[in-house]
Symmetry: C2
Subunit: 653 residues, 2 copies
């Protein structure tokens, strides 16, 4: 209780009640990418009728000098301003405000009607101007004093009153006025500025092991290099590889996750570590360190950034197990505790014990793993199951890595409960996997993506949409055939600025599940080599290439926040739009992979800058067909055998 | 940037992501009244599958020892608990959580199926129990060790597994288990606990000046004492008087706010201060200090708490003006700046200059005024225009006063912009005037009161509803006749747990405005004496007494949060309910003071504990008529000449 002590700043009358955006009272930063704006709104109050002056301050973290910009009053005590972020790294912002005596004086003066009253007010004004002159440069000081004389010698008081509204005088006083009893917002807020790929990225995942010439020859990095032109031609810009480290032999899993591996079974890449090394080493069957560097460089030359998998767990024969036994939990029988979620057991995996007394060395070693691969040229990490390692660990690791390498991207592979996914995003993950894979109906998609695009969590949670992963072959793809594969990738590519596919399983429409009711692929590459016929004539490669081309050419698809859903009178059809500048894309999709569907869509033409009954040209970027629409209610028909979706380009007439 | 330093509590894995209720990140307290519960919800997360133990801690502010209660997991990482507040004052709460090794062990154990696996787990359990025994009392230590032996000697591993789920063992470990790497929420939150009248109060405002025997004789406190039985019989429990201090003579206003007062005009009670004294003094024409004390005591004996008006402003002849000229702003011509909002001038009022260098003495003096009247027995203050004095001043004053006198109530008379009203409520005002006076249509009422009752601002903003005040005679009352007066007071009394009327103008249906289009009363008591015929046969006194009787007998009307609006298919009718325990009141009102209105209401019977098609008795507490309703759609007809509203009492069949 300090209520009875007088507050030191008792004369500060401005109150900064709320600042937006702000995550958890400033505990976490918001996120932007290079070139984006930060729109800041503040609720700023003052007692009585006096006039406030409010400034937005911002600076790169670590600098001491603020750049100041005026905030403008919107209405209802809401003030707004914005700044642009230009470099990767942390940037700070905050607000100051004070009761401005000059603005208050001038505002009151403008409403005064009684000549004697105005005359007294003009004297008060001259005192304010002289006080400002005392703080001003010699030139400004002279001009301020001249203004004082002009106001009081304008012939009539009314003429002086009107003269005082001059913009020139306003600017002079803004530059030289005092800031009495200034109120500083009690928090300095931060924005993490990422590279553009953090906001807009198209991921392609593949298993290098399956890039060999046949299904008995282990693929190598050199084989992946050979595929780069095709992957780049499909329009992807991130190439993500499952773990590339030596694979454990103890309890190695065989094909289809069988308990006993044969002598030639390659094992799961996520069972990391063997005699050949651990998380900093490369599986000898994939190639050498030099081959890897070559892959990183050649990929980049094709516009593809390599993304590595970070899976912080060990096979029983990982060198850490003997070098740092204290990093693992031991059972009373002397054995090391393998991963389990009773009654399930994963004897091929040892989790780290983050409660170990030696936790500091463990944390440093794991951060060292990330830094090692950054040293090898990697800038993107897809983090496996981050929700099974402590939150504080990730905040420290990502914060530390990005302090040195602000261009690094971390994608959180946490398919878990929403608050946990949000916490991981808040504490630093650049992008997050989503529930998209399991959102298939109209209501599911529109509710979930309205939340992702409109809720304040968008300040920190950047979705990355995957229609499939090596772990998830959704029922819809198992049974929906080619139209389902086209639909889901088209939804991912247009609902999300970042999306990815696990290929070639995707473009070749691999749809067989291990068992009915599961989402596991049969003969999964996780446990065996596969040979993919990339040139199969029915491959979706051209379709996906077209989607990515459209994404690259239309800024509306390169960010998430403009997404809006629109009415269609058919529950199997979905309509939504995205906007950038004066360009709008309208997507109309049929969620039915079997039958032709049709319906009336309703578009908010006024929001697109068009009159209610306008006639306007639309161009379907997917089919290449153009036509003219009129009015806000439009009939649309979609045949799943042709195109599951229109991507319609609207321009103001 | 401290990201590269290892956090000291790196092994603490529990994360307390959010606590509800919490106002502005804990910057402001929530509010409750004595006997109410505080329901606390927290979002608490942990990595992986381990089991958390989460405690709610609470204590009176100033004490060092916490009372701890377990939180229960609701779903989706939401935990909930509650405590009851019993004494006025500040109370604190916060949350702690940790990964509980025993609960995790037992949870995993319950799902283990392999006998060898269970046997190892039972050994692990015995180690946990022995560790707890080392911390326990001698009796508990023995019991814990016995349990260890029993689990491992239960015949079969499966028997040991099942035995481990014992509640007795759970309780032993809850009492003696360790709290490794505990996470404490980083804020201690506060709740201001007020007396019950802060939540549930019925205010009656009158001008003592008009309580005299005729309209030429100034009323005195003794006259007010004579009216106490009637006011109490109407069911009110707060009697609020406009300022009772000496009234300034300089620039005194005459009848109807005319600029020139005659020698016998009493002036406005808000023009405080004259030769006879200031804010601590009593207007001689009202009586003596002893009379005032008598009034306070006699009112209390009638169940009426006296509320005084706090108007921190001065008439030009207030003693402060000569004693503390530095507390006022001076103009270049040497005069003191009167209140103004150009072009309006209020020459009879000098505002304090809160930017004065002598602000500390000013603050102390004004707090001293409040403390003076507390010394005279006053416990309720209606604060005039708090939004024209600095926010920091009120927070300090109210905080300080309530630290010494936690039973004191402050009502904020701030009819201004919403964010300012909210800030005043957050910083300490116990109750707040609302926009009720200007909310007359169905949409206006349902939207505004849904916000007041359901939005999280209810944690700090307690509405007090006034159908009229000496400053506001709404158009609806000017033109709506007797039905309008009945309707508006019935709405106030049932929409709000706290409400008030300015009487006798209200019960005598005073409805003449000074000028068309204004809300000022003609011949307002603010500037002249009035004689009210309290016994007029058309007085609403019996109607208001009945409303207050209903309020007193039905807990549902004594708090705000249970308010829900229900559908009526007539835009001139309003239907809403309030619930307490197994009692529900359903209000159906006609907003039309002229014509009979009817419509079908729809009630969510399942929420009232009734079946969809149930037949149930209802009793109209206002008319005294009872009948039986069936089903959730009911036809209702209201004649404004009879009753503008039903107040229907429902009990579960």
């Amino acid at each position: 209780m300090t209520a009875r002590l007088l507050p030191p700043s008792g004369r500060g009358r401005a109150v900064i009640d709320r600042v937006i955006p702000e995550v958890d009272g400033g505990r976490f930063p918001i996120k932007r990418t290079v070139g984006e704006q930060v729109n800041v709104e503040a609720h700023i109050l003052v007692d009585g009728h006096d006039q406030l002056r409010c400034l937005l301050r911002h600076r790169p973290a670590g600098e001491t000098t603020w750049t100041e910009l005026p905030l403008m009053l919107l209405n209802n005590d809401r003030w707004q301003g914005n700044f642009k972020v230009t470099d990767p790294g942390r940037h700070q912002y905050t607000i100051v405000a004070w009761v401005d005596r000059f603005l208050t004086w001038r505002h009151d003066l403008s409403r005064r009607q009684d000549a004697a009253d105005i005359a007294v007010a003009l004297q008060v004004g001259e005192i304010l101007l002289h006080a400002a002159a005392a703080r001003a440069s010699r030139g400004d000081a002279k001009r301020l004093k001249d203004w004082g004389t002009r106001l009081n010698g304008a012939g009539t008081p009314e003429a002086g009153r009107d003269l005082a509204q001059s913009d020139e005088l306003g600017a002079l006083m803004a530059a030289n006025g005092e800031r009495p009893f200034i109120t500083e917002y009690d928090r300095v807020l931060e924005v993490v500025v990422d590279v553009e790929r953090a906001r807009f990225s198209s991921w392609y995942e593949l298993f290098p092991r399956s890039c060999g010439p046949d299904d008995e020859t282990h693929g190598i990095f050199v084989d992946v290099i050979a595929q780069l032109p095709d992957i780049a031609a499909m329009g992807f810009d991130v190439l993500y590889l499952p773990p590339i480290h030596p694979i454990g032999r103890a309890f190695r899993k065989g094909p289809n996750n069988s308990l006993a591996a044969g002598p030639n079974d390659p094992g799961s890449p996520w069972a990391i570590g063997a005699a050949e090394g651990g998380h900093r080493d490369i599986h000898p069957e994939l190639g050498s360190r030099e081959d890897f560097r070559e892959l990183v460089g050649r990929a980049r030359a094709h516009g593809l950034e390599l993304a590595l998998d970070i899976a912080f767990q060990c096979a029983p024969d990982h060198p850490y197990v003997t070098e740092h036994p204290q990093w693992f939990r031991h059972r009373p029988d002397g054995s090391i505790q393998y991963a389990e979620n009773p009654p399930k057991k994963y004897q091929d995996i040892y989790p780290f014990d983050f409660e170990t007394e030696d936790w500091q060395a463990l944390w440093q070693a794991l951060k060292g793993v990330v830094e090692h691969w950054i040293g090898e040229g990697v800038r993107i990490f897809r983090v496996d199951n981050p929700h099974t390692k402590p939150f504080a660990f990730w905040e420290w690791l990502i914060g530390g890595v990005k302090a040195d390498h602000p261009d690094v991207i971390f994608l959180a592979e946490a398919f878990t409960r929403p608050k946990i996914m949000h916490r991981l995003a808040k504490l630093g993950f650049t992008q997050s996997y989503t529930y998209f894979t399991w959102r298939n109906t109209k209501d599911e998609l529109s509710e979930y993506f309205t939340e992702l695009a409109q809720h304040e969590s968008r300040e920190y949670f950047r979705p990355n949409l995957w229609p499939n992963t090596p772990d998830i072959l959704h029922e819809f793809l198992q049974h929906g055939g080619r139209p389902a594969f086209k639909l889901r990738v088209a939804l991912a590519a247009t609902l999300g600025a970042s999306y990815g596919i696990y290929g070639p399983a995707y473009e070749l429409m691999e749809h067989l599940a291990l068992k009915p009711g599961t989402e596991d692929y049969v003969d999964s590459e996780k446990y065996q080599l596969r040979r993919w016929d990339l040139d199969r004539p029915d491959s979706l490669r051209p379709f996906i290439a077209r989607l990515n081309l459209i994404r690259g050419e239309h800024r509306a698809l390169q960010s998430d926040w403009s997404l809006r859903f629109h009415s269609v009178d058919n529950p199997l059809m979905l309509c939504y739009s995205k906007t950038a500048g004066d360009e709008t894309l309208v997507m109309v999709a049929s969620l039915d992979p079997l039958y032709i569907q049709s319906g009336w869509i309703e578009l908010p033409l006024h929001e697109f800058g068009l009159a209610y009954d306008a006639a306007y040209p639309v161009h379907d970027l997917l089919s290449g067909v153009g036509f003219t629409w009129q009015g806000h209610r439009i009939f649309v028909r979609l045949d799943p055998q042709a195109f599951p979706m229109h991507i319609l380009h609207l321009r103001r007439a």
